[in-house]
């Protein structure tokens, strides 16, 4: 709402100044990220328990994951975190074209991540390396090898969903940037999305060794 008092147009009425608004958004975002950590925390806990009960299965099953695909995706996501950071930096400097460029790159890298994940998943579905009652693969020794794939699909699936959600938000940012909504004075949404995107990246950095490199 535009204010008659010469306040910037992006300042909401219940904040006294821009600084207070920005600080509030930041704190809110950090709290949101904590809730995300706890959401995944439950699954990490399940991982720890089932792995400690079935160390052999986790070892025997993990060799069926594609380390090349996993490594590729790790590189892709880390790169996307860099481009996201560059997008924020560009907006801080008021460079809108550069911001757009970096945001689009981030979006494309996220898409690459999901495409690679798609090929990994479809390969597993083809072989029957699946959770619970869908498990039909015969090549892993030990009782209940499907447990590994239950945990694998749950965790990477939830993570993949977060990548997808991030892509939605980044698309929205691209549209908003094109419409000139952000400036060197006001880029809070870009910055907050960046925080979220780094967390998504960070979670993958834990998932990658826990599943692909447990041997």
């Amino acid at each position: 709402m535009a204010q008659a008092t010469g306040q910037p147009h992006f300042l909401q009425h219940h904040f006294t100044d821009v600084e207070q608004q920005r600080e509030s958004a930041k704190l809110g975002m950090w709290i949101f990220l904590i809730t995300e950590v706890l959401l995944f925390g439950g699954l990490f806990c399940a991982y720890a328990i089932y792995r400690s009960w079935n160390p052999d299965i986790f070892h025997n099953a993990h060799v069926h994951l594609d380390i090349f695909a996993g490594t590729l995706n790790t590189v892709v996501l880390i790169t996307s975190s860099v481009t996201m950071a560059l997008a924020i930096r560009s907006m801080q400097l008021g460079n809108r074209p550069a911001t757009l460029k970096f945001l689009i790159t981030t979006l494309l890298l996220a898409a690459v991540f999901l495409v690679v994940k798609y090929f990994e998943y479809s390969h597993k579905i083809h072989l029957g390396q699946l959770p619970g009652k869908f498990y039909t693969f015969g090549g892993i020794e030990g009782t209940n090898p499907h447990i590994f794939f239950s945990v694998y699909f749950l965790m990477t699936g939830l993570h993949g969903f977060h990548v997808l959600a991030g892509m939605g938000v980044i698309t929205w940012l691209i549209v908003r940037t094109q419409r000139n909504a952000f400036s060197a004075e006001y880029y809070t949404p870009v910055e907050m999305t960046g925080l979220y995107w780094h967390l998504v990246d960070l979670i993958w950095i834990f998932l990658f060794p826990l599943f692909y490199l447990v041997g």
Partner: protein, 538 residues
């Protein structure tokens, strides 16, 4: 005499659309008030039906399966739709920004979104009722919850969605309290209700995501049979219980902490005396929030967790008694030599003190391992839980509703009828639930449809109590609605309180204050300031 302001948040702007799209925290509080009260009425009717069926052994008027569904719905609705959101989402939303001298919460749009998410989650819960209601109990324990043919998914999905609503409220409050306090209001000048909401919000934010993932896993388990909680497939049903109680024990503090905050306000204002031990009360809220995360295993003493774990959980559970005791002693000391006025809100506060103390002490019994093995899954648990939740939280909630009622609407309810109602509720409550302590100690198991003849007199007694209780609530509904039209105009400060919300008009204007108030004194400095009351005795 007092007059209502011509323009207030209630009538400016006008129209249904302006309410449904409102970003005003006061209006959102009212949207929550109406929807949560509807849930409370529904859960209450279910409770009355359960008690009616238990009037005598065997079938009275419903089948055992229906009975199982009813106690599940009663529990799930009262927990997820009523008591968790009740105080923060209604009274917190209305009063928090006013009490810290802010124009609104930090994220008004998120606040409105939380209400719509609440409605969506409730819609799933209601759908579950008509589509073959769940009969698992509100805890949704596996393996039964993955096997029963009733509609577990829509109910758990409803609870999952309601979790987001709770998280958004908590997140909003933390940021609001950190960043939007008016100039001069330092942390230790904040009203204690704000401290209570703050501690609550921390738990909401930290615990609710774990419930989210738990219910998500349960839904996936039920839909896809991934075996994560199924021992036949290498999964672990006890893991479900750990996950569930990691949320649901702290959740009982989501329910009680804001209530304790209200009690601090009421005791000080109606004793007309500075609160005793302000910092002790404030920090004990944070202490309770902290300890709450370390005691979940006391729900699983007989679920097959290790003896060592059970001993540690039992030991830690006793610690909860310390900050709770600190609060109770400080409240009692505040009243000592105060000039106590027994208005309706104070009557609720006194009821709280009495009932919560019983509820808390019986909690210590249950935290003791050997005693718990005997009392586990009996009516003793049911009675303990209702003394804490209804005797504690609901009494505090009702006290808060009556305390802020004149601020919300600008009008007073009938003090006489309110006192009759509080008396009926207090007596009815004790008749209903004290008998259940005795039933439980004699071995009556909870959730049973049928029982031995020897339990009949106490069951009947308990059912009679539920009628008194129900009558009290019906009277309350009538005089509260009546007050909206015919109540005396209250003026800005009917109780003579010192916190900010009483410095602005009743009902307040859309922007809360004509000018942002400045902190010149503490919230309970009755020793230094004589507040001007706008309403005199009849």
């Amino acid at each position: 005499m007092n007059e209502l302001p011509t323009k207030s948040y209630l009538n400016d702007p006008k129209g249904l659309k302006s309410w449904l799209l409102t970003l005003d925290h006061k209006r959102i509080g009212l949207l929550y008030l109406f929807s949560i009260m509807a849930a409370f009425a529904l859960g209450g009717i279910f409770a009355m039906l359960i008690r009616l069926e238990l009037l005598s052994p065997g079938k009275d008027f419903m089948e055992a399966d229906t009975y199982n569904q009813l106690f599940t719905l009663h529990g799930a609705i009262m927990i997820f739709l009523f008591i968790i959101p009740s105080i923060p989402a209604i009274l917190g939303n209305f009063a928090l920004p006013l009490m810290i001298g802010a124009k609104d919460v930090a994220f008004p749009r998120l606040n409105l979104a939380s209400w719509y998410i609440y409605i969506l989650g409730s819609a799933f819960a209601v759908y579950s009722m008509v589509a073959g209601a769940a009969d698992t109990g509100w805890t949704f324990y596996t393996p039964y919850s993955t096997e029963t043919t009733t509609s577990v998914i829509s109910m758990t999905l409803g609870a999952f969605i309601l979790g987001f609503s709770s998280i958004f409220t908590g997140l909003n409050f933390i940021v609001t309290i950190h960043k939007l306090r008016s100039p001069g209001m330092s942390w230790f000048k904040m009203p204690l209700f704000v401290w209570g909401l703050y501690a609550t919000a921390i738990i909401q934010v930290l615990a609710t995501p774990v419930l989210g993932i738990t219910l998500l896993l349960l839904i996936i388990e039920r839909v896809a049979g991934i075996g994560i909680f199924d021992p036949a497939m290498g999964g672990d049903p006890v893991l479900y219980q750990h996950f569930f109680w990691f949320y649901s024990h702290p959740a009982v503090y989501i329910m009680i902490l804001p209530g304790m905050g209200i009690i601090s306000e009421l005791i000080s204002v109606f004793s007309n005396k500075k609160i005793f031990g302000y910092k002790a009360i404030a920090f004990s809220s944070l202490g309770i929030a902290f300890v709450s995360f370390l005691v979940w295993g006391h729900h699983m003493f007989v679920s097959g967790q290790s003896e060592l774990a059970a001993m540690i959980f039992s030991f830690l559970t006793f610690f909860v008694g310390i900050p709770s005791g600190i609060k109770v002693f400080n409240w009692v000391t505040t009243m000592y030599r105060g000039s106590i006025s027994l208005k309706t809100p104070m009557l609720y506060a006194l009821s709280f003190l009495f009932l919560f103390t019983i509820g808390g002490l019986t909690g210590i019994f249950l935290g003791a391992l050997s005693v718990d093995v005997h009392l586990h899954d009996t009516y003793f648990i049911v009675a303990h839980f209702h003394y804490v939740m209804m005797g504690g939280t609901v009494m505090a909630f009702l006290g808060g509703v009556h305390y802020w009622w004149p601020k919300i609407w600008g009008r007073m309810y009938s003090e006489l009828w309110a006192r009759i109602s509080v008396a009926l509720i207090f007596v009815g409550f004790n008749v209903t639930f004290f008998s259940q302590f005795i039933l439980g100690s004699q071995g009556m198991p909870r959730r049973y449809y049928n029982y031995l003849d020897q339990y009949q007199p106490l069951h009947a007694f308990s059912t009679y109590g539920s009628w008194i209780l129900g009558l009290g609530f019906v009277i309350m509904a009538v005089y509260l609605v009546h007050s909206l039209f015919k109540g005396r105009v209250a003026g800005s400060n009917p109780w003579g309180a010192l916190t900010f919300e009483w410095t602005t008009a009743s009902p307040p204007p859309h922007e809360n204050f004509a000018t942002i108030p400045e902190t010149t004194h503490g919230p309970y400095d009755f020793d230094k300031i004589v507040p001007k009351r706008t309403l005199t005795e009849d």
